[in-house]
Symmetry: C2
């Protein structure tokens, strides 16, 4: 990723890994500014010495904890999209904001035509407006390349127009699915690329699966085996995890709280590697990641940005 | 629940709430023996002074942490279903086991006809065999009462037959969906009843929804609003959370990592109460539960049995 969009063209999103051990390596690769989704993520990044330029790409109505970081010399830019969130930024002691623009995903962001007005309001309250953000979350997962490109263009033309009304240096957008095709944004908020998952794995991107949940077969029957990682170890919103390796017919049948039932059967004691369907909510369940080289554990990274 | 199946007829499953604050109240209601799904749950229960009679209703291949609890005067009975898990129990310092029997759910448990042989093997290794367990997990969620009863009977007749071969005082089974109809088991491992969720709410059981995720609307558009709890705040394997209260047409459209998009729109700042689709993996995401009476927070209980 650092080769494709080096330096400040990438603002890695820490929500995907929630791990300052990984963020530190992203900074070492040239990306010293980060995107966060929660105040806790910002706090953890600042505590890890990575708070030089954080974007909290989310709306908050109580920004006091963000303001406390700013007061302690961190740089945190906050997304705003309404009078209420602008007032919360001011009241909380935030100094810099981005105007969050809805570019087609029915989630946060003001209407594009209101962006200029929001920027004016923010400036009238003494806030520095650094530019705009607009996440094309309805586009990043589209598997057809041509369709993904076309819809990215439509979304980003809205953002560029809004940016014309807002001003400031930043047009922040994008994700792992659009990091190359989104040439309208001047910084990309990709996060999943660092670890990957089944969903992004379908897009044919040049990133390898880096996270697996390692489970042990604890029970075996003639037609199936049961390993000790279940739906409390995986984000399940995009379905079951998949087996990595094993025979071609190997597959996951279902997950229970602490179990995954797989077929065909295995020996009790066998280790199975499982690929999460969705990386972000998977990381949020785990306290730590073990870094392996071959069969050797070479490091342990706390997943230290979890919670709120 | 304490009225329906008082005292030792209920062995509450802590995996549903992962909270010793709730377990302590279950003990005060007369249920002083508990079911656990993970070693961490056992350790947390022992640390909370609730380790008088724990059943780890799960297979493990490294039982040393369980043995350490037993050596420290806790009582932990371990499920076994194979030569390997019996050997692990012995090697780990476990003294008491249950024979886990497959009663129809393709998960753990030996074949019913092998249960007696497993018990003989366990006894030959010096283990005390307290009886059998067999979870009818394929039955507890069936919405049709007659079908649920019929399939529960089929499953439990297998367990009763296996118990005849095994001996011991315990026939442990059941869940929130079968706590009344499972008259073959002499202890019921129900857990979800204490908090409930959308899935169990469909069964018409006499338990109220007790857990909600309280979220704040942080962004609003003409057709929708966005509140600040997403798929890192809910177990998503059974689908989206549901809105509690609000207009009858109110519904959840989709969840993102830290957002839920709902319709119709609301005011920024509105609070919304969300009911989890599946309680167990929802609790596993949260560090603490706030106990409210009306609008007042009257207590805070750490969700202290999370992780592994």
């Amino acid at each position: 990723m650092a080769d494709a969009i080096p330096g400040a063209r990438l603002r890695p999103h820490v929500k995907a890994h929630k791990c300052t051990g990984i963020a530190r390596r992203q900074a070492a690769a040239g990306h010293a500014q980060f995107t966060c989704a929660t105040i806790r993520e910002c706090e953890g990044m600042v505590a890890a010495g990575l708070g030089g330029d954080l974007l909290l790409a989310n709306e908050v109505l109580d920004a006091r904890r963000v303001g406390a970081l700013v007061a302690a010399a961190a740089r945190v830019t906050l997304a705003v999209d309404s009078t209420e969130t602008i007032e919360a930024a001011t009241a909380g002691g935030v100094r810099e904001v981005l105007i969050d623009v809805n570019v087609g995903l029915p989630r946060c962001g003001c209407a594009p035509e209101d962006a200029g007005k929001m920027a004016d309001l923010a400036r009238s309250r003494g806030l520095e407006v650094r530019g705009v953000m607009g996440y094309e979350g309805h586009v990043v997962g589209i598997q057809d390349d041509a369709e993904r490109s076309a819809k990215c263009k439509t979304a980003m033309e809205l953002l560029v127009a809004a940016h014309g009304d807002v001003g400031g240096e930043l047009r922040s957008a994008g994700g792992t699915g659009t990091y190359l095709i989104n040439t309208w944004a001047n910084e990309i908020q990709a996060g999943s690329y660092a670890l990957m998952d089944i969903a992004y794995g379908k897009l044919g991107l040049p990133f390898d699966q880096a996270v697996f949940v390692l489970a042990t077969v604890v029970s075996a029957a003639p037609g199936w085996a049961v390993a000790d990682a279940g739906l409390k170890a995986f984000g399940m919103d995009k379905g079951n995890p998949a087996l990595h390796g094993g025979p071609p017919e190997a597959r996951v049948l279902f997950c229970s709280d602490e179990h995954v039932t797989i077929t065909p059967t295995r020996q009790v004691g066998d280790r199975v590697w499982l690929v999460p369907a969705h990386i972000d909510p998977t990381m949020a369940y785990h306290e730590r990641a073990y870094v392996v080289s071959g069969d050797e554990v070479v490091d342990m990274w706390p997943i230290d940005l979890r919670g709120w």
